[in-house]
Symmetry: C2
Subunit: 130 residues, 2 copies
């Protein structure tokens, strides 16, 4: 389903992506860029942070390949570059069966109960997971 | 599709999850635990690393809620705790349209081409409208 290129990433690249995402300001910057490109000044506006501080965060995002900059020399607008996010998701997807396991087991149980002859109403909910 | 609880996470929790994932040894430990619980000694075996160094990584994973420890006082086996991975994936999924955009546009184009009525060969290009 995913282009096979996604699987060829180096560990360093995943390190950089996850490290870049481990900060709420950087995640907020990505969220803002998801609605369109923006200059550093525009990106800094909603934050109680100096522009140099924001610039530093943007540099981390750029190094991780999550933000690219336009060529307009004056403005150099920032854009979201989503490919590393796809690669990170690809890595996380391998573990999907672990968090979905509980729901699948519950589904299977419900299917079994439905398939059983009537009169099992009393066991309905069976199991909150501890 | 996802349990609504996944959306109530605090930013600190996502910070901890992404920071924990930003290291190849920690990702390898999670990959090992995906095939079953293991003691610290077992986890350390494949790495060219001292046991205290591995223990440190495991502590980071524990603090991020990605690993839980069993109660057996001697062995305290480590287990994968996948919920933070689900939350991280949930966050990343918001950006899926950015990396899938290109494929969707291509799909839409192919659908359009397929959906065109048969037997239009003769009027192929609708030249009249020029």
């Amino acid at each position: 389903m995913q282009p096979s290129g996604y699987r060829q990433l180096t560990p360093e690249r995943l390190d950089a992506t996850f490290a870049a995402l481990a900060d709420p300001t950087r995640r907020a910057i990505l969220a803002r860029l998801a609605s369109g490109e923006a200059s550093v000044t525009e990106l800094a506006a909603p934050f109680a942070m100096t522009q140099p501080a924001i610039s530093k965060h943007i540099k981390v995002l750029e190094r991780a390949g999550l933000v690219s900059r336009g060529r307009d020399a004056q403005r150099r607008p920032c854009r979201l570059a989503a490919r590393p996010l796809a690669e990170a998701t690809d890595w996380l997807e391998r573990y999907r069966r672990f968090w979905e396991g509980n729901f699948q087991r519950l589904d299977a149980l419900l299917d079994e109960l439905k398939a059983e002859p009537k009169g099992v109403d009393s066991q309905k909910d069976g199991g909150e997971q501890r």
